[in-house]
């Protein structure tokens, strides 16, 4: 029998064996190469890494992506070949074929094990070939799935220029108006728009840089939400182009993350770049989004306006789905580190969260989120949430059999077998790639949670629950 927490209060943390399935952190290449348009990602690893990317990326592979494997062969592993020479050869070829603004080296488990000194090699090679090389150790020994992005952004944070480094006005504009598209209103009105842009719609506040890779529409949406509060976003990490990395003024710039898996980036910005980190929950769900905006406002000394109404308006729009989901139970097996934020939002929607598996939990970086979770549980009368770090999938499945949740959020390896046993599932990875942040997308998030329930409800009358042969 699984012991169910019944006390109301802060989450209960547990830790298991870590025998769980998640995607390799090098998968971050899939979205980052698209996000940073002038980049090239070079994954330095084995056939195993390459075949993973090929299978995980599916159709993207055929679209001539700006990434490649530097496949380690026997000579590389035996150290019979010189790593500097080999990487030099490959990077020169990349330069010739693609001429990117930056090459990001993605270290893997293998480069860790053979102790390839990527950080040592990169500066020399960078100088030799004249292209910046950023080194990220997105390996599976230390990180899980989405944390791959964290390693890249943490490495890239150090490349954000200080104000005195940016000389030309043009470059400054590029770097501070990282959302190139947002404030240019079309050719006809060029002058008018420039006037508009110079109109002081913004409060006077310290520069704010946001970090975390979101799709452009979501970047625009969150930027607009902050604009409504009179807050100007000075830049995003990552920017759409490497050459547009935001200016960071040490000791002055404030930074806030948009995703829970970016703790190393946060600390890189705090420690190396001496930024002020906003302690905030994450902008997932109207509650989280409001909390996120409020925390930013507070740090910047801006009084939030109309946020309560905005949140209420979004909740009103969500009503039908909230009513549908209320009272249903959900189990997170743990995959993308979004679990706590999603659980908090869904508890607010009235769902019952049976377990939050999560690969890794940085309690400091997630502090505000965990507080909001506790507050939410208290307000919703939800028992203390069981958070299981480094879960053991086998044990979780036994618990799932016992608890019979209405929905299991799981990685791709377990979804079909669970469905065949009559347990409704949703891929966690879909939440990683879908647009779920901010007020505008809260609806999409709920729709995604709801879809499998709708579906199996729809198919229910057919009696197709147990699709395995009883032994």
């Amino acid at each position: 029998m699984v012991s169910q927490p019944t006390t109301i209060g802060g989450p209960q943390f547990e830790c298991e064996t870590g025998n769980y399935h998640t995607f390799c952190p090098i998968s971050c290449v899939a979205w980052l190469y698209q996000k940073i348009e002038d980049s090239f990602f070079l994954v330095i690893g084995t056939k195993t890494c390459g075949y993973f990317l090929q299978n995980a990326m599916g159709v993207m592979i055929f679209a001539e992506p700006r990434y490649a494997m530097a496949e380690l062969e026997e000579g590389d592993v035996n150290a019979k070949l010189n790593a500097y020479d080999e990487l030099r050869r490959l990077c020169l070829q990349v330069k010739k074929d693609r001429n990117p603004s930056v090459i990001v080296w993605i270290g893997t488990c293998t480069t860790e094990i053979i102790k390839m000194d990527l950080e040592g090699i990169a500066p020399r090679l960078e100088e030799e070939i004249g292209i910046p090389i950023v080194v990220a150790r997105a390996n599976g020994l230390d990180y899980a799935f989405t944390q791959g992005e964290d390693t890249v952004l943490a490495a890239m944070a150090a490349r954000c220029p200080e104000p005195q480094q940016v000389r030309s006005e043009e470059e400054k504009k590029e770097r501070t108006l990282g959302l190139r598209s947002l404030f240019s209103m079309g050719k006809k009105e060029d002058k008018k728009s420039e006037q508009q842009a110079s109109t002081p719609v913004y409060a006077d506040h310290r520069p704010l840089v946001l970090f975390g890779s979101l799709t452009d529409p979501v970047v625009n949406q969150l930027t607009l939400e902050l604009k409504k509060q009179g807050i100007k976003v000075s830049g995003w990490l990552p920017a759409p182009r490497y050459t547009e990395l935001p200016i960071v003024e040490q000791g002055v710039t404030c930074v806030a993350g948009v995703n829970p898996f970016l703790s190393r980036t946060a600390s890189a910005l705090q420690r190396r770049m001496r930024c002020n980190l906003v302690n905030t929950p994450f902008p997932i769900g109207p509650d989280g989004t409001r909390g996120w905006i409020e925390a930013i406002c507070k740090t910047l000394g801006v009084t939030p306006k109309g946020l309560e109404e905005r949140e209420a308006q979004v909740w009103a729009a969500l009503k039908e789905d909230v009513d549908f989901l209320a009272g249903r139970s959900i189990f997170f097996m743990g995959d993308n580190l979004l679990e706590v934020s999603m659980a908090r939002f869904l508890i607010r929607c009235g769902m019952k969260v049976l377990e939050v598996g999560i690969p890794y939990m940085d309690k400091r970086y997630q502090q505000a989120e965990l507080e909001l979770l506790e507050k939410t549980c208290n307000e919703m009368g939800h028992p203390s949430v069981r958070i299981v770090e480094k879960p053991d999938n086998y044990n979780q499945i036994q618990r799932i059999y016992e608890l019979q949740p209405d929905l299991v959020i799981t990685g791709m390896a377990h979804a079909n077998p669970l469905e065949a046993r009559g347990i409704t599932t949703k891929w966690s990875v879909e939440f990683t790639f879908a647009m779920i942040h901010g007020f505008t997308n809260a609806h999409d998030l709920l729709k995604m949670v709801r879809k499998p329930l709708d579906r199996n409800n729809n198919l229910k009358s057919l009696g197709w629950e147990k699709l395995i042969q009883e032994v």
């Binding site: 159709v59 679209a63 625009n220 891929w427 505008t440 198919l459 057919l462 197709w464």
Partner: protein
């Protein structure tokens, strides 16, 4: 007169000839002008038929027209009787020659005197019937003729349970494979197939029809009149449920169970149905499996003959969780039945054979996938919407060499693939487009959106370009509608997001 580019069902004589040439050792004489005998080409080319089509044109030319056709027709009938020694010769005019108002029954009577074969005139009005209804009429006419010839001396019921399969014919949509699958399914149920008709059935076999315990009529379009006739004269019950999809196949089997039980052989097929549904057919599991979850709520339109359009609508709606925006058929003569079948399974029912209307309604619906005929497949190509072909008019692609039944449990597998590939292949193309694998297209697609005074600013235009092609025009229209309603004439990112939130609510 009617301005027409395309028809979903052929003229009446095609139906008659499909029946006549499906039977074994039956020859048809087509009394028609030169060139009207393209049925022979269709059969030879589409079915890759190895034998000469047993249809001879008795050509009406200007000379014949002048002096009357009788001699020529009678001569040709008698000649074929000698050359081919058929059991039966069927005479049919075409739309054209039927206007001549000749006494064709008299031609037949005269020819009969000199022929060993039976000679029949196919009794169809060529302006009121089309291929489908004419086939049904001719099939019944021939069966009735030979059953009546028995003068009540009908064969006794077979000792063990047996069935006839009625409605399998040449140039039928996947008919051969369906027949093989039905035979297999009946075999699994312990039921022998007595006679398949008309395909491969001789006139002597017709007289063996009453020996079966019951008749199976898999298609709505062909065979019901025969089944009803046999019910009246030989007290044979029939099953007219189309065993397409897991649900309907189960219903079909249960109907057979009832008949057998009523006939004194108690059977219980429930365990067989369960086993086939859950484990032998892969369709139920396919539907439940995780990568099909996203079929839930996807929007589709369905159009075709009554049988296939109704069955596919049911499968999409009930078994796959796909939302059928509209379901339609070109079988106008059977519209009521069609409505009764798909009611509650789709948002709207369309009964029409106007291909232009159908094309427009598809464009307006902007579905994620179409299930239709070859015509809709081409409409889909123009609109960049994938289409699975589920119905006649037939095309050489509907005569695959590989096994592709639509009926029975293997049929459920084939349909699952068809549905999956229609949605995902479309998706793959769009993904390639999104990820820049193909040439990128003009942002604002030429769609049905009327010209508008709304101006999209650069940022919004760029945002629109990022939206995958298959929903782009919808987002565009929703946004413009929202902008108009809220009195704005420039579309900015703010307007786009506000429109999205409003639509989501």
């Amino acid at each position: 007169m009617k301005l027409a580019y395309w028809m979903y069902a052929g003229p009446a004589h095609i139906g008659t000839l499909r029946i006549a040439s499906s039977f074994k050792n039956v020859h048809a004489i087509m009394h028609a002008p030169l060139g009207d005998d393209y049925f022979n080409v269709m059969r030879s080319m589409l079915e890759r038929e190895r034998d000469f089509t047993p249809v001879t044109a008795s050509v009406v030319d200007r000379k014949v027209l002048g002096r009357g056709s009788q001699d020529k027709v009678v001569t040709n009938i008698v000649r074929k009787d000698q050359e081919e020694a058929p059991d039966l010769i069927v005479l049919t005019p075409t739309c054209t020659s039927s206007i001549l108002q000749e006494d064709l029954s008299n031609f037949v009577a005269r020819a009969q005197e000199q022929s060993k074969a039976d000679v029949l005139l196919a009794d169809v009005n060529h302006y009121r019937h089309n291929e489908l209804t004419a086939a049904d009429i001719t099939f019944e006419q021939i069966v009735r003729f030979y059953i009546e010839k028995c003068k009540g001396n009908l064969p006794a019921r077979s000792e063990k349970p047996s069935a006839n399969i009625l409605g399998i014919s040449t140039l039928g949509f996947h008919n051969h494979h369906d027949c093989r699958e039905l035979t297999r399914l009946l075999g699994d149920l312990g039921i022998a197939v007595n006679v398949v008709a008309p395909e491969g059935c001789s006139v002597h076999d017709i007289q063996r029809l009453p020996a079966a315990w019951f008749n199976v009529v898999p298609y709505r379009e062909l065979g019901r009149p025969v089944a009803e006739y046999l019910q009246s004269v030989a007290h044979q019950p029939f099953v007219d449920i189309t065993p397409m999809g897991v649900i309907q196949t189960a219903q079909f089997i249960r109907a057979i169970q009832q008949i057998l039980t009523a006939g004194g052989v108690a059977v219980d097929y429930e365990e067989f149905i369960r086993e086939q549904t859950l484990f032998v057919s892969q369709a139920a599991w396919f539907s439940r499996s995780i990568d099909c979850q996203n079929l839930q709520g996807k929007r589709a339109v369905v159009y075709g003959d009554g049988t296939h359009a109704a069955a596919i609508t049911r499968i999409l709606a009930k078994e796959m969780g796909v939302r059928v925006v509209w379901a339609g058929t070109f079988c106008k003569y059977d519209g009521e039945w069609f409505r009764s079948q798909v009611e509650g399974l789709c948002d709207e029912v369309i009964v029409s054979d106007d291909h232009a209307l159908i094309g427009d309604r598809i464009a307006q619906a902007e579905p994620a996938a179409i299930f239709g005929t070859q015509m809709e497949r081409h409409i889909g190509k123009r609109l960049d919407i994938p289409c699975g072909v589920i119905s006649s008019p037939i095309h050489i692609q509907n005569f695959p060499v590989g096994y592709r039944p639509f009926l029975g449990y293997e049929g459920t597998n084939q349909i699952a693939d068809l549905v999956y590939n229609s949605f995902t292949l479309g998706m793959e193309d769009h993904l390639l487009e999104v990820f820049g694998g193909h040439d990128t297209k003009e942002v604002v697609t030429k769609t049905l959106t009327a010209d508008t005074e709304l101006e999209w600013d650069e940022a919004a235009t760029r945002e629109l370009a990022r939206i995958p092609g298959f929903v782009r025009s919808k987002v565009k229209r929703n946004t413009e509608k929202f902008a108009r309603e809220s009195g704005r004439n420039q579309i900015t990112l703010e307007v786009m997001y506000a429109a999205k939130e409003a639509a989501g609510a």
